[in-house]
């Protein structure tokens, strides 16, 4: 699925070492991450976040993180966890800002569960919106596109 290993420009000095073998585990890949469960109720949101952080630390590209099912609830900026607990939404937003990540919330799943941005708020005549910075609402096609574009797609759910 992944194309042939791409030799980095700076591999000139690795004489005597099998470069291809050495790169097998380290070669950057394009990852897609799917989060199917909401914050706090299930561990999936934590596992997905920790996985994403580790992937970025290893130099991989995260093409998109797609929030679906109750996973869309990760995107509400209205959550107020106790101060000594992790803030799951802020954590996602900050990671997205730092690494320019594409956090996509499925529109159909979001509508069911009352997650909306300003545009959705107007469209449905609601009195508020709640989407957090760094998240955007879009269609399920974004998940399919991630499947097409990414070298690896990983699901986190319950």
């Amino acid at each position: 699925m992944a194309g042939p290993p791409v030799m980095p420009a700076n591999n000139k000095n690795t004489c005597g070492v099998s470069v291809k073998q050495q790169l097998a585990g380290d070669e950057p890949v394009k990852l897609g991450i799917v989060v199917l469960e909401g914050p706090y109720q299930h561990e999936a949101a934590d596992t997905a976040y920790n996985f994403a952080v580790a992937a970025l630390e290893k130099g991989h590209e995260i093409f998109r993180i797609f929030f679906y099912h109750d996973g869309v609830n990760n995107a509400t900026r209205l959550m107020v966890p106790p101060q000594d607990d992790r803030h799951i939404q802020k954590r996602w937003s900050e990671l997205a800002e730092k690494h320019n990540l594409d956090l996509v919330v499925c529109v159909a799943a979001a509508q069911r569960r009352g997650i909306m941005d300003e545009e959705e708020q107007k469209r449905h005549g609601k009195d508020a919106n709640n989407i957090a910075p760094g998240f955007r609402i879009s269609g399920l096609g974004q998940l399919i596109e991630a499947g097409i574009q990414c070298d690896r797609l990983v699901f986190f759910g319950d």
Binding site: M1, G25, T47, K58, L153, V154
Partner: protein, 100 residues
């Protein structure tokens, strides 16, 4: 075409691990995450199931092992990996099936 299988349920609540192990092939990797790590506790009924898995590497996620007080309690042959190791497994295998 090796697969990475993630299992996140306790085998004492759910048959997810059993079903996963019935679908693994030579060279596959099973990664126990979240409540899935309980399967690897030494002496537990589920550990027998894991011991019988031939030609399959069994790993457990260290954060989940530690969080549950299972450090030092795992059966032999389990490779404990951190989140970075989880990422490596995803990259090294061809694709990932999450047994949710």
């Amino acid at each position: 075409m090796a697969l990475l299988h993630t299992v996140n349920k306790s085998p004492y609540q759910c048959n997810t691990l059993e079903s996963c192990l019935q679908h693994v092939g030579e060279g596959d990797v099973v990664l126990l995450i979240e409540d899935g790590v309980y399967a690897a506790v030494k002496g537990g009924k589920a550990s027998e199931m894991l011991a019988q898995a031939q030609g399959v590497k069994i790993c457990a996620l260290s954060a989940d092992v530690k969080a549950r007080g299972l450090t030092g309690k795992l059966m032999d042959g389990i490779e404990v990996v951190d989140y970075g190791g989880f990422v490596d497994l995803v990259v090294e295998t061809d694709k990932t099936q999450a047994w949710l």
